[in-house]
Every structure is written in structure tokens, then in C-alpha cells.
Subunit: 556 residues, 2 copies
């Protein structure tokens, strides 16, 4: 029982897409030294998290073991892997390691929270390694949709674990290192205990397509366009930015980048030397000097975000640029589930301006950054692990991926957030379930997803809100009828009379009927008025609003 | 100027998918006699209409011309065409015409609002016609995904308009009349002024596929399944229900229907004779007597609706039935944009139960009920109209459809909700723009989408709510500090002190600083306290909540 063991514990990203956060441990049970892989975010929505700014994995378990954390490793610079470093670093306190481009992005995030650049250390690629307690960790280059994405080779005294990070198999990725089959096969030959492997595209049955296929198609499209062309994609997809810009230049267009996040990414890529030969870019202020047919904007907002450049251009003039009849707008991107309505809104606004919209439905202008099913199998075959731990995926993705592993004679293990897996032996063992969840950044405050705060907001949004104010004198006698203020409710209902007046009358009568015992007790008054108000509303408007009763007493 | 004219005025469905409501008029300008085609609904979402129950087209324009309405025609029984009849009929007052199946559904809706069955008159199919003022209207059978769908042949003294309703071209539709090319071509030969035509699938470039293709694929899938099978689709897709049930029976399974809406549809179809040879169905109470491998449930909830049977089964036991490892769940449906997250939630819950999920991504188990681009062109070619008026579609669909018409030498006209088009001459003329919008059914009350009620709810959901109560005595002196109640806000912020206490202190100080002029004026007190509360919150929690201030004064 007191033998050293290797543990794997996902806190985010296993059972969802986004918010990646994985923990590895090595040592005697409950004394393992720990490393953290990725500190990502996910994004709120109106259905489940209205008013919330960002969502992080709940790291309570880690915070309680802070003295055991050796280091934090960031696989790549996507928000769902690096987005929480600035918010969480103080609570964890360990050094952060990342390759140069990722480190550049991470340092900016740290600086926004007042942390020094030295908190983030630049790591070189495999075969160089970092020693972190009992772990020796190497950043193994892998192709994805952002520069310097890396898998991690995690060596322990009890064996090797390979953590793929997000990846695709792309031997012509436009930006960044091509996928190196030999290097990955070499890892396999040295014996790998467990492959912890990206799962998001496990239901895509065709082989993944290379980034290099996109450029020629975009160029063809651009050559057919007679007006201005706008293309949008993820700000962080540096390879796509280059693909688009190069296609634009080849088609005789000047390139303008719009959107802070996108310019930041290109800057970081240029600063760290990972983006070579990016076409020269025209400042947005000079865009109007260029004939429309020679202009290409590359802009943020591919997911329909209301404040991004795509949405602004669709609504009208933005930075002096106005789209019009005959212009072309290209979504070189996939719409993430949940963002459809926002994207469709923009498409229709563009249609109203007379702009032709092209999306990825033809499969010509976008390729995924993740490994499809055949590519996942290829990765299994290269690395030849004993155990496959599917990560980064919803439950259905993890389950399907584990099934594939099992069917091929490896040991698949389905471990969602909070599942602690012992990877030491020949078969994976689930040894614990940890309480996990989500932490919301709400304004400047971190709140728990289950604190009830957001639940109360949702209730107000669904039901409306009635505030009832009642004042009682020293003898517990109400001073007049209670007052009602409505928020998010109609002024009149079934009877066509003022809802406020009707409620105030009803509540006044309820107080009149109430005995001295009720009037002497704030809780009982509250309960009486709440019940009366809800019933009256149900009757009058067919809804039961949230009710807040404020009882004020004049002290003697 | 005083010549009779034919007008077309969409109030809903043109510029959106759903909420169909079209007006035709014939007569002298501003004295036209009117008919209404369809009275549909659309569905609310948390982003734009939290708490709302249903959404209707704003029919103010029609209500103001109530004495000019001759009749209401319902093309088919989908909610987005018939859903508002019960809610709106009293405000319009004209007789409703529909074919037997649609009329059956409409009568149930009317009965729910206390209206007599006689308000809905059953119409026979073309070549029989109904006279409504200057209009002669025939129900022309057309294939879609619900029985007795019809186009309308609308004859006026100045010519013929053909309104397709929703349709696909399906010569083997499983339920209902096959698409009859000859009959439609015959209409074309008699001379058609305008074709008002479904547009939803204009961006689908392949020819539509027949309902008859689905059954054999489902049967194959069922034969490969070893546990219980559950299939979900739209409750109203009676053809699909039959396809699924027949495939189930062929694969040796007993059929159970779950979900009120679905049983209601099958009943209506049976009552009106449009559903023949539907396999016999086992009551849900007896489902557990049947071995799992011989059971097939056909259930509601294909769009992820939380209260429908699919969601209930995914969450656990429902009507005594429990899904488990080895069962199969088929989504024989397309996910409507906006519903992705709900559907994915169910898929993951099913995955947690060990259930295998099959969706329509293979294109084998679902076909659309709408005409794709080649089918729209086929319709143009059959009917040979002078004018094509694209309807039922978002702006981008209507625009694309109009472009197709133009490119083929017809006159396409882009008319979104509120655009009045004169169809009398050889070319369509836009003659007016009417104020249109949406009406929300909120509980039992109809409210305007722009009344500010729902906006206030959204604000509370995004920002949280602070209620401030202050009592002043006869001399305008505050009795103690103001009181604060929070809703949807954290208890503590930056300072880690109670947010309520901090606010009450800040507001107390603000009142102390306030002069007599402010204290004498409720509005000024309110403004002072609101500003102080918002600033304090911004500082403490990084958010500016909604603030309600209730000022109470003790009268002398």
C-alpha cells in the first residue's frame, strides 16, 4: 500500500470540451508530488451562467495540497488551456513552464494580474526536459491549430506517461512543426505506460485534413470575388491567419487585421519567431485608401461574439469600414455548439447589407485542429501504450475513445473530472473520486457554480421579481398597505387593472387578516405576504414571480 | 390609383424560420379585403426572451383592419403555422379553414381557449375551393413532414397567386399524398402571377431525399441492436413515426409511444383517416413486460426539451422504464440551431448510462421536410410564375431564393416581415412598410417584445439586483441607514466583508452627505442612492447591479 504510484486526476476537460486542467502525481498514496497540466477556461452562456465572465475548473483539491505542487505545464496557448493562469497562479504558487510562444501569451496574462514575467519559464522542445520533483517532463512538438502546441512526455521512476494535449496529425501545418511520426514512434519504442489522449473529434470518421489544403481553396474563392472580402476565424489560429493572408496576397489583395485578440496573437507569434514570412499588413486606418476589390480584412468574431469585429462590421461602419452589396464574408471556422444563433444573426445582418456569406458547409475553407478517429488510432499505433486515458471531450467522446482502445487490445479507462486513476500497474485502477466543479469569475469575484447566486439570477430572469415593502409601527401595526415594486413583469394582467395596485390591495388585506402573532414575527409576515403575492400573480398574470419582502419596524 | 390590387404582406416567417403569418389583400388601396394564411408561433430562448412561454407575430395591423378580414387559412398543423390560432382567434374573428387533419389539431387548440369547434371549418382538397370575399382559395395537396400539408391556390379577379406553404418534393412520402408533378404543372399552365415559396433549405444544394429512404436504414440499425431501442423525432412528423414504428415491427419489436404531443398527433391522424396501417402500439404501462430486445420506444424531445420524454429517460427512470448499458438511442431528427446544447446534454447523460447514441450525422436516419435548392427550382419550373416571392426563411434564405428567381428570368422580390408588395402588375412593387414585431405570451398575458419587461429580466440576470429601502420621517430625516437586499449577487467581494453591510454603510453616508433638497425629493434620493450603490458594487465586486430604491415616508 505504501508503494509509490502514478496518479492521473482530471479537474477540467474530462466530461466537457474546454476548461482543461489535469493533475499527475507520483509518490506514496496521499503524499504524491504533483504537477498540473493546463489551466484553462470555458465560457458562460445565458442558459446556465448569465452575467458570469469566465468559468474555471474548481481547484479546491489542488489548493489544499499546494505544498505538494512541483510545477504547472501549459501545452499550448488556447484559452481553454492557458486562460486561467493569471487568475489561479497565486492560489497554486508553482512555476509555470511553457514553450516560447505559449510562454509569451501566458506572461501577458500574468502581467494583467500584476505577476512578474519570471513566473513563466520558457521550455525547450523534447528531447530537452524539465525536472519537477520526481517527474521529468519534455515538451514534445505536435501539430494543432496554434504554434508550438506540445504533447508532454512525463517520465516517472515507475514509467512513462504521454499526454498528447490537443492535436491533429498534420504533416503540412503551414505554421509550426509538422507532425513527426518517427519521433512519436520512437516514444512508443521506449515503452509507454499510458497515453492520455485528446478525444474531441472521435466521432469524425474520416481522416483529418491538412491546413495546407485550405489556402488554394480560399485563393480560388478570392479570385472570384469582385468587392471587399472579409474572412473570420479564431484569433488564435495563427496558421489559418497565415493561410488566409497568403491567399489574399496571391489574389492581389492587401491585408488588414482587425480585432485586438488577433493582432495580439500575430504579435506574439512574430516576437517568438514562430511566424515567418507573414504577409505585410496594412493598418486599419489606411484601409479606405485601398480599392475594395484589392482589400481583404481578416477579423475576429467567428463565433458570433457581439463585441468582436465580425459583429461590428455586420451592424454597420466599424473603424470607418462599411460593407456593402457585392462584398464577400468568409467564415473560415466551425461554429461551436451553442454559438449557432449568434453566428446566424451576423449572417443575416450581412445579408441585409447585400454581402454574400460563405461558411464551412462546403468543407473547403476550414479544417479541424483536432485528431479524427483514424488519427487517434494512428496515435495509439505509434505510441503503443498499455493504457489509453481519453481526455478533453464530453462523456460521450471519452466513452467512445475508451471503447476504441479496448477493441484494439489496450486498456481504455473512462475517467471524467474528479476520477483519480492509478496508472502504476498493468491495468488502470480508479482509486478515488474527488469533488469537482466549476468556479465562476463574476465581475471581479470568484464564486462557486453551486453557490446559488447564479441560480437566483436565472429565477429572476424566468419569473420576474416583486419587491414588497411593509412598515410596522411600535405596536406591530402596519402603516398603510404594503408597497410593491415590479421588475420584469407586465403592468396589467387578466383584469386589465394595474398589477401593482391589485397586489398592494391584496397584500393589505392579507395583513389585515393576519393575527398579532404573525405581525410580531418578521418571518411570518414575509411568508404571509410572499404567499399572497404569488397567488395573486398566478391568478392575474399566470406567473409566480420571485418575491422579496422587506419588513421595516419603527423602533419605540 | 383606385384600381383593385393584390397585396402580399408577411407579418411573421419572412426574415426568420418559424412564426408564419402572411396576409393577402384584394381591392382598392387601403380598402383591400384580407385573408390570413397561417397563425404560427416560435419559441423563446434564454438569451432573448427568458421566462416567455410562446412567441407570436404582432398582429396589430390586422386587428386594426379586423372588419376587412374574410378568412384565415391554415396550410398545415405544425406549431409554427397553427400554434397561435387559439390565442389570436378572438382578436381576428374570421372563420378558420383547414383540411381535416389540420382542422382536428386546430379545433383542439381552439377548445383550450373555450372556442367552439365550429370556428374551424374543414376544407376539401383542390380542385374544390372556398370563396372568401374576392378570393377563391383552394387547398392544393403538397408533400411535407405532416399529413395533409397544402399549398394554397389563391385566385383573384386580377390573377392567381400560389402560396406553397412548407413543402418538399417527395413522391413516396410514407404518409399523405405523394407530390403530384402533373397537378402542379397544370396550375402553371393556367398562368400564375406570383409563387410565394418556402425558402428554408435554399442553401442545401443536393436534391431532397424521400421519406421512404429512412425506413430500411432504421430497420437495419434496429436489427443490429441487442438491447432496448429508443427513437426520437418531432412529435408532429407523423410520417416519421410510421417509418420508425414499421421498421421496429419488421425488426421484431413492440412499439411504445411516449409523450403527450406524439400520442395526440397519432390520434388526430387516426381520427381523420390520414394514418392507415399504423402498427399496433403497446401502452407504456406494459412496456416492462416485454423483453428489452423486443422493445422500441418512440418518444418526444428530439430537440433536447427538458420536460420531454427523451430528457426524462436520459435522467433516469421514466414511467418505470430505465435505460441501461447496451441500449440504443436514435435521434431521427435534425437539431434546430439554438437547441444544440440541450441535445448534447441528453447525449452525454445517455452516454453516462452506457447507452449508444446514433444521430443524423450519417444522413441515414433523417430526411428534411423542406425543399432543397434543386427542388425549389423544380417548383419554379412547374408553376412558371411571373414573380417569385420567397417566404419562410431568414433574410439570407429569402435573398438567396430571390437571386435564384432573378437568375432564371423570373422577378424575385425580397420581402421581409412588414413589407407590403403589390403583385398586380407584371413586376412586383413594394408599396409600404408596416411596423411589425413579436408578441410574447408571458404566463397568461400577451406583452410586446419591446415593452421593456423582458429587457428588465435580462438585466437582472446579467447584473444581479440590489433592493434599497429607506424610510424618512416627517422632517425628511432618514430613520437609520438604508437597508439593502441582494438577489443574484455574491455575499462578499474584494474586501471580504459583507457586501450588504458595506453597501448599507456607504448608502448611509451618501444620505448624510445629501442636502435637504435631495432628502425632500424622492427622485433625487433614488438617484443618489442608485449611483452610490452602483459605484460601491463596481468597486467591491466589479459589477454594476440593477438597483431598485424604495423610499417610504412617514406622513405627519
Amino acid at each position: 500500500m505504501s508503494e509509490n504510484r502514478i496518479i492521473y486526476l482530471p479537474l477540467g476537460g474530462a466530461g466537457e470540451i474546454g476548461m482543461n486542467c489535469y493533475v499527475y502525481g507520483y509518490g506514496k498514496p496521499d503524499e504524491e508530488r504533483l504537477i498540473v497540466v493546463d489551466l484553462g477556461v470555458t465560457f458562460p452562456d445565458m442558459d446556465t451562467s448569465p452575467g458570469v465572465d469566465l468559468i474555471f475548473a474548481d481547484i479546491t483539491w489542488l489548493k489544499e495540497r499546494r505544498d505538494r505542487i512541483e510545477a504547472i505545464f501549459i501545452t499550448h496557448a488556447h484559452e481553454d488551456h492557458v486562460g486561467a493562469v493569471g487568475h489561479y497562479w497565486e492560489q497554486l504558487g508553482a512555476p509555470i513552464y511553457a514553450r516560447a510562444f505559449t510562454a509569451n501569451i501566458a506572461r501577458h496574462k500574468m502581467a494583467e494580474h500584476g505577476h512578474s514575467p519570471e513566473t513563466v519559464r520558457t521550455a525547450s522542445a523534447w528531447p530537452e526536459t524539465i525536472t519537477a520533483g520526481p517527474f521529468t517532463v519534455g515538451f514534445m512538438p505536435i501539430s494543432h491549430s496554434i504554434p508550438e502546441s506540445s504533447g508532454l512526455v512525463i517520465d516517472t521512476p515507475s514509467g512513462r506517461v504521454v499526454h498528447t494535449g490537443d492535436f491533429k496529425i498534420d504533416e503540412t501545418p503551414v505554421v509550426g512543426e509538422p507532425f513527426d511520426r518517427d519521433a512519436w514512434a520512437e516514444l512508443g519504442r521506449s515503452g509507454v505506460k499510458a497515453l492520455v489522449c485528446d478525444s474531441t473529434n472521435v466521432f469524425s470518421h474520416h481522416e483529418g485534413r491538412s491546413e495546407a489544403l485550405v489556402g488554394p481553396e480560399v485563393e480560388k474563392l478570392l479570385r472570384s470575388a469582385s468587392g471587399m472580402v472579409v474572412a473570420t476565424t479564431f484569433a488564435s489560429n495563427v496558421a489559418r491567419l497565415k493561410t488566409l493572408a497568403e491567399a489574399g496576397v496571391k489574389a492581389g489583395r492587401s491585408i488588414v487585421l482587425m480585432g485586438r485578440a488577433m493582432r495580439r496573437m500575430v504579435e506574439a507569434a512574430a516576437e517568438t519567431g514562430v511566424l515567418k514570412n507573414f504577409p505585410s499588413v496594412v493598418p486599419v486606418e489606411n484601409a479606405n485608401d485601398i480599392p475594395r476589390e484589392n482589400l481583404m480584412l481578416i477579423v475576429t468574431g467567428s463565433q458570433g461574439e457581439r463585441r468582436a469585429a465580425s459583429a461590428q462590421l455586420a451592424r454597420g461602419k466599424h473603424f470607418g469600414i462599411e460593407l456593402k452589396e457585392g462584398d464577400l464574408f468568409l467564415f473560415s471556422s466551425k461554429t461551436i455548439p451553442g454559438n449557432e444563433k449568434g453566428v446566424i444573426r451576423i449572417m443575416n445582418q450581412l445579408s441585409e447589407l447585400g454581402v454574400d456569406v460563405v461558411d464551412d458547409s462546403s468543407n473547403l475553407y476550414h479544417v479541424s485542429g483536432h485528431a479524427n478517429r483514424p488519427d487517434l488510432e494512428a496515435m495509439h499505433d505509434l505510441v503503443k501504450p498499455q493504457i489509453v486515458v481519453p481526455m478533453h471531450g464530453e462523456h460521450r467522446h471519452l466513452r467512445e475513445h475508451a471503447k476504441i482502445a479496448d477493441s484494439k487490445g489496450m486498456q481504455g479507462v473512462l475517467a471524467v473530472n474528479g476520477t483519480m486513476v492509478d496508472l502504476t500497474g498493468n491495468a488502470p485502477k480508479i482509486v478515488d473520486y474527488i469533488e469537482t466543479g466549476r468556479t465562476y469569475l463574476d465581475g471581479s469575484v470568484q464564486i462557486g457554480a453551486l453557490d446559488g447566486i447564479v441560480r437566483d439570477r436565472i429565477r429572476m430572469a424566468l419569473n420576474g421579481h416583486v419587491m414588497v415593502t411593509v412598515i410596522l409601527d411600535e405596536a406591530d401595526e402596519p402603516l398603510g398597505d404594503p408597497w410593491c415594486d415590479l421588475n420584469g413583469l407586465p403592468e396589467t394582467g387578466r383584469s386589465r387593472h394595474s398589477l401593482v395596485e391589485m397586489l398592494e390591495e391584496e397584500l393589505g388585506q392579507a395583513l389585515m387578516r393576519a393575527g398579532r402573532k404573525v405581525l410580531a414575527d418578521d418571518d411570518k409576515i414575509e411568508e404571509t405576504l410572499r404567499r399572497a403575492a404569488r397567488n395573486a400573480c398566478q391568478n392575474e398574470i399566470g406567473k409566480k414571480p420571485e418575491i422579496t419582502v422587506v419588513v421595516s419596524r419603527l423602533s419605540a
